[in-house]
């Protein structure tokens, strides 16, 4: 009987040790939210909704981070949506040192993403009808990585990207290109890649 107990205990310890060595931190991607408000003097010429923009960035970021051996990433839509809905309550709770048992079971870190700036910058120059105009989409996003146990922000970074959305000039030739939607998607995608690169450099 004693031998059996010793053998079982050894097995238990070995299993626990192996499990600990293999346990990679779980990172939950809780989507992107906008910190921009649409008003008459902010975004008037970009029709894409913030939900669509958030989806583009979220998918690009997930693709960049998935498969890294240092951590496993989860993007459970339902849980992520709840984490975002309860963001303020959750932050307050963790900030006060209270533990959220439900979250602890699901993730070690929570990535909270934000769209912080989207604009179409216009520039023009010309004399006597010779000149041009252009538009540049500028996107800026940020990421906060929160320790799911303590509520502390352990990593914060921002990334941005610029893409030409419009080009129009009159010299001898006349040319006009306009692709605001494509430029916006491309800028969001590149900004997400930049954000992922900074996250990977920090871990």
């Amino acid at each position: 009987m004693r031998k059996l107990i010793i053998m079982l205990m050894t097995l238990v310890m070995l299993a626990a040790h192996g499990n600990q060595a293999l346990a990679a931190p779980v990172v939950m991607l809780a989507g992107f939210q906008s910190r921009i408000s649409k008003s008459a003097i902010t975004m008037t010429d970009i029709d894409t909704s913030f939900q669509e923009m958030g989806q583009v960035v979220s998918e690009a970021l997930y693709a960049e981070l998935a498969g890294n051996p240092k951590f496993s990433i989860v993007d459970n839509d339902e849980t992520a949506s709840r984490a975002r809905m309860d963001e303020t309550a959750l932050i307050n709770q963790l900030g006060e040192g209270r533990i959220n048992l439900e979250l602890q079971k699901q993730a070690d870190y929570i990535i909270l993403g934000f769209i912080t700036n989207v604009s179409n910058i216009r520039a023009q120059s010309g004399v006597l009808g010779v000149g041009g105009k252009d538009g540049t989409v500028h996107v800026e996003i940020s990421m906060r990585v929160m320790d799911a146990r303590s509520g502390a922000l352990v990593f914060v970074t921002t990334a941005n990207s610029r893409r030409k959305s419009e080009l129009k000039y009159n010299v001898i030739l006349h040319r006009k290109d306009n692709g605001l939607g494509d430029a916006l998607n491309s800028a969001l995608d590149i900004a997400a890649q930049n954000l992922a690169a900074q996250f990977l450099a920090a871990v």
Binding site: S37, I41, M43, F71, V118
Partner: protein, 273 residues
């Protein structure tokens, strides 16, 4: 007996397994080096203020800038401390952080009694007495030596030290984004193509407070930044750049965070030693 032993071993196995799953290795452990600075609060105690989301953006930029200078910025999850700043009934860490911030402001060189938020004015009057701020000679003399450090009130120093110890930080940093002013330019030659391309100018002023947690010594920094954008169509000449308010604010905040961190590294951290 045998069944009891087996049951005990199995439950031990499950417990260890559960613990090993939840105690994953720290993903950012390699970053735990260098000087730790706890960002206590990024808020406005001026009489004009921005939306909360603007402070959040500012906080993200500031942390990134600090990280780039190899300074380890830490904070609790509520870095803009909305509750501590705005709720009169707030208690706990948020309320304490707001008090430390206000204490640093009212003792500082930049404090303007007439242009401060009501909460700050009340705190200033309670702590130092209103008369102090209307002693014009004292105020003028104090403003002439902006680099001179000072101390938090005796009653506030232990609270600052406790918070710093809790987060393992050597310094506490507070930012008072006290004045952001946006003007739309309706000049004669301004472009009227679309609403967002009209000319705009933005001016922003802030003060920041770096506190040595162990001594309570405070360094006050101040910066003012401007950005203007305007498309113009003169008779035969056109030129300029047009951008929306968020873009302007973005430029201004980048300049501000850059100024803060440079000044802090060059002057602030030495001054509070």
């Amino acid at each position: 007996m045998r069944r009891a032993c087996l049951g005990w071993i199995l439950s031990l196995c499950m417990m260890i397994s559960a613990v090993s799953q939840t105690e994953a290795a720290g993903l950012f452990d390699s970053r735990n080096a260098g000087v730790k600075i706890f960002i206590g609060e990024i808020q406005s105690y001026g009489d004009y203020e921005l939306k909360a989301s603007a402070f959040e953006n500012f906080a993200d930029k500031l942390r990134q800038e600090l990280n780039q200078q190899n300074l380890m910025a830490i904070s609790n999850a509520t870095v803009t401390n909305e509750e501590g700043r705005h709720s009169e009934g707030a208690s706990g860490e948020g309320a304490v952080l707001s008090k430390i911030h206000m204490d640093a402001i009212v003792h500082g060189h930049q404090f303007e009694h007439g242009y401060a938020a009501a909460k700050l004015v009340r705190y200033a009057d309670e702590t130092m007495g209103r008369k102090v701020f209307y002693d014009d000679e004292r105020v003028a003399a104090w403003k002439k030596q902006p680099q001179q450090t000072y101390f938090l009130s005796q009653g506030v120093q232990p609270a600052a030290r406790r918070i710093a110890e809790k987060y393992g930080a050597a310094y506490l940093l507070f930012v008072n984004v006290k004045d952001v002013d946006v003007r739309l330019k309706h000049g004669l030659f301004a472009s009227h193509t679309t609403k967002e391309n009209r000319g705009k100018k933005m001016k922003a002023a802030l003060d920041y407070y770096l506190i040595n947690a162990s001594t309570g010594r405070v360094y006050e920094g101040h910066c003012e930044n401007r950005k203007t954008a305007q498309l113009y169509n003169l008779a035969l000449v056109q030129g300029g750049k047009g951008m929306n308010v968020d873009e302007l604010l973005n430029h201004v905040m980048e300049a501000q965070t850059d100024d803060i961190v440079k000044d802090m590294v060059k002057n602030g951290m030495k001054a509070v030693q």
